[in-house]
């Protein structure tokens, strides 16, 4: 049954058509662009050919996966098929499947794989930084390693929680059987995979020297490999926009009757705040990259000051996207934090409305702070105090999230399970990340720390210490529900402790090293910083080893040990844990009636609302 499905449109046919499309596009680009522009001859770099190759390649990939089937069927007058491949075996994980749960698991594996590639690059970067002189990678390659690490991580982690977890859980949490646009949901996943492969091709074309921020005019000078960066981020931007829109429409329109806004689980609030940011900020990225592409191919001069353009234009456009982007990274982690802590403290969320206000406030303010990345750039000096104020103000709604989490711990019954450990670590890491952010937002302090390793350690504390820890917490918490198998508890605790301690051992000293004068992305540094850098590199290797430990746990538990998790391994009262593990295709036999209290924990309350589990009935009679 499933083998036959595999013979139809799937990932393999997608890749075949994708590669074919790449060569067709290349030929097309050479035919269109080659003869007309001398500089292609001089530089041996036909950017037009590479961009058209990527474009036609992606189209071929999507057609090969079967995305064109539905429109073509409809145009030929055939009846619509609303659901594709939702039943059937493991083959559906390698093809276009409209079951939101399958898409969630596809995302988990796909993003996981690319994150490991990004992490490998990080290990290689730290290897180079063991000594103050260049000793490891051939000259141009260090900058490409830095660039691919940053770009891959940013592109993948943006959808890092919305992709795997929101896609899987949001319909369940709001009482729906599917997302609003299931085919678009699958599209966002496959676009992201295509993007990831495109980024890896940068090595075949000479890499790119600009880091993940792609500053012009350096990006204009760069070799062919820069086009891979542009294409990657454009596809990621498209995937983000569609994912955000899908989430917003689903959460607004497909909530079951009785699931009012004040009953939404915190995770869903985190998702919708993130989704709004995605839908609004990602299009700016796409347009910016379009301009970069035009500068590189059609010889326009958007960012070339000698011909009337301005590098400032790029900096502002990029960071107008870039700042909401980092809150896109932070908000889902906050959603997971406030989703998991109530379960393991067995208390309702403390200050639910305050926390929601915090999330929405962060989302709103995130659009008003972007010039803090430009404090030293020679921007208008009169405007800097405004951005200093707006950036400092963001710590207010962030503080609401903190106090909500802390309040939920108050007089709770705390169980230190692996997911809970990750949440507590989130609080610690994000605290340090946030405080270092206060230093950076203060312009006098920023004079020393901008562009240094202090800035790098700040965002690693918030993105890695915050988001990635929440990501792992979510994995340990929800994978038993998604797959039906437990992850080994003891290995999980080893993973947590090694990861937490080595993470702080890596990035804590980097805060200091940055303050001591080491700029970012530089392959050499002053000799007196060697000892500190060696310590950091070795801690980073241990951190990498903890990830391998996680992989061992993941593969062992899911492939070999396969200990059944049962429906509710965490004794959670939230809705997804009232359903079987793994969740059946149709989610619920009957659309549930929701408990007015999304976190019905807490003793000393009259029985009734608080004692009922999250949905009624929990399981219908068969």
């Amino acid at each position: 049954m499933s083998a036959r499905r595999l013979l139809r449109f799937n990932m393999l046919t997608g890749m075949v058509l994708g590669v074919a499309g790449f060569f067709i596009g290349w030929w097309l680009g050479k035919f269109v662009g080659g003869p007309s522009l001398d500089y292609f001859d001089d530089t041996q770099q036909n950017d037009i050919a590479l961009f058209t190759a990527y474009l036609v390649g992606v189209i071929g990939f999507l057609v090969g996966l079967g995305f064109a089937n539905y429109p073509i069927q409809r145009m030929l007058g055939k009846p619509p098929s609303l659901r594709e491949k939702e039943t059937g075996g493991w083959g559906r994980y390698f093809s276009l499947c409209t079951d939101h749960k399958v898409v969630g698991i596809q995302y988990l594996w796909g993003i996981g794989a690319f994150i490991f590639i990004g992490g490998l690059n990080a290990m290689l970067i730290r290897f180079e930084l063991l000594t103050p002189n260049q000793h490891g990678w051939n000259g141009n390659n260090y900058l490409t390693l830095v660039g691919v690490h940053g770009t891959m991580m940013m592109g993948m982690m943006t959808s890092g929680i919305l992709g795997p977890f929101a896609n899987y859980l949001v319909p369940i949490m709001i009482g729906a059987r599917r997302m609003a646009f299931p085919r678009i949901e699958a599209l966002t996943f496959w676009l992201l995979m295509a993007a990831g492969w495109i980024l890896m091709t940068t090595f075949a074309f000479g890499g790119f020297p600009s880091g993940w921020t792609g500053y012009e005019p350096l990006a204009d000078q760069a070799n062919l490999g820069m086009d891979a960066y542009v294409a990657f981020f454009a596809l990621v931007g498209l995937s983000m926009t569609l994912l955000g829109l899908n989430m917003i429409v689903t959460i607004i329109t497909m909530r079951a009757p009785g699931m009012t806004w004040t009953r939404l689980p915190m995770f869903v609030w985190g998702t919708i705040s993130t989704a709004v940011l995605m839908a609004l900020a990602a299009p700016v990225l796409i347009s910016t990259l379009l301009m970069v592409m035009m500068d590189r191919t059609a010889q326009s001069n958007f960012f070339n000051p000698q011909m009337g353009g301005s590098p400032y234009l790029y900096e502002n456009l990029f960071w107008f996207f870039g700042h909401p982007e980092v809150y896109i990274l932070a908000l889902p982690g906050m959603g997971i934090l406030l989703e998991i802590i109530p379960v393991f403290a067995r208390k309702p969320v403390w200050g639910y409305r305050l926390a929601v206000t915090g999330m929405l406030g962060i989302g709103l303010l995130s659009f008003l702070v972007w010039q803090h990345h430009l404090f030293m750039s020679g921007m208008n000096a009169d405007v800097r105090p405004f951005y200093m104020l707006s950036t400092e103000l963001i710590s207010l709604p962030t503080g609401f999230i903190f106090i909500s989490a802390l309040g939920t711990l108050w007089r709770g019954q705390i169980r230190l399970t692996v997911p809970m450990l990750f949440m507590l670590a989130w609080i610690f890491n994000f605290l340090i990340g946030g405080l270092s952010g206060v230093f950076l937002s203060d312009v006098p302090s920023d004079t020393t720390t901008h562009g240094s390793f202090f800035s790098m350690a700040h965002f690693h504390y918030t993105i890695m210490g915050g988001l990635l820890f929440a990501f792992f917490g979510g994995i340990y918490y929800w994978v038993p529900k998604m797959t039906g198998y437990r992850l080994n508890d003891r290995l999980g605790k080893w993973h947590f402790w090694i990861m937490f301690l080595s993470f702080n051992s890596t990035f804590g000293p980097l805060l200091v090293i940055g303050f001591l004068g080491m700029p970012r992305r530089a392959v050499t540094y002053a000799g007196y910083l060697q000892g500190a850098n060696m310590w950091v590199s070795i801690s980073a290797f241990v951190l990498g080893a903890s990830m391998l430990l996680f992989l061992v746990n993941f593969v062992w538990s899911l492939v070999f040990a396969q200990v059944p998790a049962g429906d509710n391994p965490w004794a959670s009262k939230s809705i997804e844990f009232q359903l079987p593990s793994p969740v059946p295709v149709h989610n619920f036999d009957r659309i549930p009636t929701f408990n007015p209290d999304p976190y019905p924990y807490g003793e000393g309350v009259t029985a009734g609302a608080a004692q009922r589990p999250a949905i009624t009935p929990a399981r219908p009679e068969r």
């Binding site: 500089y39 530089t43 000259g139 000479g206």
Partner: protein, 218 residues
Amino acid sequence: MKLVGVGAVVAAIAALIAAYIVFLTHGPTPFKPAVAQAGTQKSVNLTLQTVAAVGPKLAPNENWVSYLVQENGVWHRSTVWTLPANATVHVTLYNYDGQSGLRNPFLAQSRGLIGDAFTLNGKSMSSIDPDAASHTFAIPDLNVIVPIFGVADDAKNQCDFAPCDPSMAHETVKFSFKTGKKGHYRWQCFVPCAAGFLYGFGGPMQTIGYMDGFINVV
């Protein structure tokens, strides 16, 4: 069965990572010129050539400008050189490339050379007209820089593809500098000579093996 499957995947991933690392470390092999020793004084002779287009035989990018180094009469495309410490390096450079001009005319004056001068076609001088510069040879960490005079646009018999021979139009520049302590120093060209790239600073100007390289002083 599962074990075999998982084992195969792990082996494949390990092989991919190994290939990746090999790819990243693969780079130009250092060229080590012969060292002559007279008493305690070490000296090295380095013969270089700069060309307008390196040609399909020597590089994948045939229209890129490049430095070449001569070893036993044969020209190699190598920009990573191993030189002895505390030695005098005598460089003879044949330039076959045309004039591009410096973005910063300050760099048309030589620095850090023995005798504070270089010879251009036999004449000794310490600076040239910046608009006539074709390349520079500069080791910023040793504060060494030499501007390289370019072949005039209307010169006859210009070289098409490397390696070029002395019968074609060229300018000869000779200079000497001292290497000091051991170390790993980068060198680069400062003239925007990468045709077709923005500000002339892309492509060969940012790729080791063409207009950039390392001096390993051992």
